[in-house]
């Protein structure tokens, strides 16, 4: 184990401002949650209307938005307000409460996942809301609620394209959730704990020193095979190319979100990006040493941002360059390839760890 993890964000608030009793803890937790949520919303807001376009444009020799404000940045408020101010069409025959809950569930579930993610420090502030003993299991549980939301949207929309999209989402998530978690378990065997601070802490040691540089014992370096497996399964989990088949614009129009307009569409759009960032956060926690990086501990939030955005860039690169697989191929890769490989990885890791220990 490395250095003792710094105080959690709500505890820090309680101590600093001397908030008393249970009420104080509740208030502190709420404030903390609001801060974290705003960080994530800011990420997604920048990513959705602006960064995604700019990155895609860079891949395809274009410029993209540059007339709306400096670097086109004002497109962010413009898009948000514009979309929210549009007419919300509720098609005839939709399954009402389900249809309304689905778009809220998607970003909410992803946001919940961030409650246990350590996002590094800004000065003395450790942006980490909670650190339960089953943290890793919890974050996967939250992340997988998303597929429920997609099915709800697909089923309730009363549209055949949406239905196909919803069904594809289930099939895909079933096929990839298991390899994802099994691969993560191999890391848990190394770390010996499900607690996220423990998993991160296990990666602080130095693996090797090459030409004066300390290579940290990030699990991506310890077990690159598992890292690649996890990265692939993660792409499928968040539904990006080559696994974006629940949305698949050229095949099933917009998949589960075909019928959604205005605010609900914004929620879906937002949810997708929050999900990408959650995927990046999980990846960095499990394989890339959390928020750690060179330099003092107090600026580690920057490293967290770098890692998460690096993952975002990776998804956009995949989107620009990699063709989409077909649904049956995707299922086949999931069940016959990834699942077998992830279990092999798990067993192998268990044996190696057992022998060393």
């Amino acid at each position: 184990m490395g250095t003792a993890p710094a105080q959690l964000f709500p505890e820090f608030l309680v101590d600093t401002f001397g908030l008393p009793g249970v009420l104080g803890e509740v208030v502190a937790s709420l404030i903390g949650a609001a801060v974290v949520a705003n960080i994530i919303l800011a990420f997604s807001g920048v990513a959705g209307p602006w960064a995604k376009r700019k990155i895609t444009a860079a891949f395809t020799d274009r410029i993209a938005v540059d007339r709306i404000g400096p670097f086109g940045l004002l497109i962010i408020p413009a898009s948000a307000v514009q979309l929210l101010a549009k007419e919300l069409i509720i098609p005839e025959g939709v399954d009402r409460p389900t249809w309304d809950i689905a778009p809220i569930l998607l970003p909410a579930s992803a946001m919940l996942g961030f409650s246990v993610i350590p996002m590094g420090q800004i000065g003395p502030l450790n942006i980490h809301l909670a650190d339960p003993e089953v943290g890793l299991a919890l974050v996967f549980a939250f992340a997988s609620i998303a597929s429920v939301s997609l099915v709800m949207a697909g089923y309730a929309s009363n549209n055949k394209y949406s239905l196909l999209g919803g069904l594809r989402a289930v099939a895909q998530n079933l096929a990839y959730e298991i390899p994802l978690i099994v691969t993560a378990m191999s890391v848990v065997i190394f770390a010996g704990t499900l607690q996220i601070s423990g998993v991160v802490g296990a990666q602080t040691e130095t693996l090797a020193t090459v030409a004066g540089f300390d290579i940290p014992a990030w699990f991506a370096f310890v077990n690159p095979f598992a890292f690649v497996l996890f990265l692939t399964a993660n792409l499928a989990e968040i539904g990006r190319n080559p696994f974006d088949i629940p949305e698949a614009p050229t095949e099933i129009v917009g998949g589960y979100q075909t019928e959604y307009s205005s605010a609900y569409f914004v929620l879906f759009y937002l949810g997708e990006f929050v999900h990408i960032f959650l995927g990046g956060a999980i990846l960095s926690v499990v394989f890339l040493g959390g928020a750690s990086g060179p330099g003092p501990e107090s600026i580690s939030f920057i490293w967290f941002v770098v890692k998460v955005w690096g993952f975002f860039l990776f998804t956009q690169w995949a989107r620009a360059a990699i063709p989409r697989v077909r649904i049956d191929q995707l299922i086949e890769i999931g069940w016959k390839g990834m699942l077998v490989l992830s279990f092999a990885n798990l067993v192998l890791t268990a044996v190696i760890v057992g022998v060393i220990a």
């Binding site: 394209y161 196909l164 080559p242 050229t250 063709p323 989409r324 077909r326 649904i327």
Partner: protein, 554 residues
Amino acid sequence: MSLERPDTADDGAVERTPDELEALLGDLVVDRDDHLNAPGFVIRPDTVQETLSILKEQAGYDHLSLVTAQEYENRYESIYHLKKFDDPTQEVSIVVPADKDTPVSESAEPVFRTADWHEREAYDLMGVEYDDHPDLRRILLPETWQGHPLSMDYDQERPQIASLPEHANPLQEHHKDAESDTMFLNIGPHHPATHGVLHLKTVLDGEQVVDVEPDIGYLHRCEEQMAQNGTYRHQIMPYPDRWDYISAGLLNEFAYARAAEDLADIEVPEYAQVIRTMGAEMSRIAAHMLALATFALDINGDFTATFMYAINDRERVQNLLEDLTGQRLMFNYFRLGGVVWDLPEPREEFFSKTRDFLDQLPESIEEYHNLITSNEIFQMRTIDTGVLPPEVAKNYGATGPVARGSGVDYDLRRDDPYGYYDELDWDVVTEDGCDNFSRLLVRMREVEESAKIIEQCVDLLEDWPEDERNIQANVPRTLRPDDDTEIYRAVEGAKGELGIYIRSDGTDKPARFKIRSPCFSNLQTLPEMANGEYIPDVVAALGSLDIVLGEVDR
């Protein structure tokens, strides 16, 4: 020379004189009605199947290129234009007159599958009914349309009603049981994957396609009527640009120029032919680039790198074409007897621009190969999907890259030479995979061949003596071909055999102008390729067919 056909020792390729054919058909022939391009035999309306199957089985006429229906003062007529895939210069026309009051003749569908849609179109626009046709409905116009618009007594100003029906699942009854059920899905007419306004009536079993039926006519712009209302000399030429509008304009203009020049017996100066050939091949590159771009779009799913790069290369070709013709898309550059103007001045600049383009083309193609064809996922998606066996392709009259991707060695530029193609050194590209991947490969390799042709044309044009640069033959101000002369001529368009049938009636406008659209025949093969596959494969197959709705619907 590479243009020699590979020898195929096939009895079907043996050429027969018209008299031998008449002897072969025996009593079936009622009369002779020769066309400029082929001998024509008049037969009785109830012997269509018999006649066509004799010609197909015994004389080797295995390509039903076109079915033309037309109305005379005293009768209706269906003409079956037959060819051989092995040698398209051997042609024969079967003329089937039908009664003026109740125009009924026998369907050719049991002999040639491709006759299905062609006869539906004839019924739709002309009102000829076909006995024994499996599904004689309107194809281009709404089901509820009144009258047959190309027939003589049609009143264009009558009110019409178009309906927006909810389509029923055609397989509902016999697929619905305890274990399985099917779902009907309308893909299109507005859908990102249909490349325009095509409607696919799809029946799904889960994700698998049980039945798909293309429903066309959402872009039926009356091109044949437009051409029949225009004069030969000037008024028709702008329309071909708009049939296959994917920058393939010059190829289409070539089709009209060839048919009309042969009809009116106009000799085109050699210099103009070289310019035409060069321009046409530039058009082909532009068209194939868009095919590549949209196919990548269908497989990748977003406006991604391959799409953008291919569009970028198209821009380069379009710049050249703009220099040459003055337009980006609708060139209107050919004239009967030549082209409208010479190469742009200064000529050296145009040549060097063209050479620059040709020089960087291999690099771009290399990039596409890196990006898509060598990508494992792409190969997984396209190899062995959308399989179209050569026999099926021939039966449906598929031509162009679709046929060549199925190993059918058929290219009118070589087999029925026109323009300046037979003087140049290039190869016909075929692939044997019969799948989506081979069709894409054929297009990518054809781009290279086109580049070869352009390069040779540029060399020729550069060295052409200045006083022999004749771009236009002497053509009378008003063209009036002889009464009742009929001709069917085809060229190799971007999508395949683009043919035009013209019947003159002694005036300066054609009496009947029929377009043989390659996409129309190619699209017919979609159910063969798609049934039993997954939805993404249907989308991929459609992309690899590279249809243009402007040409399908005309």
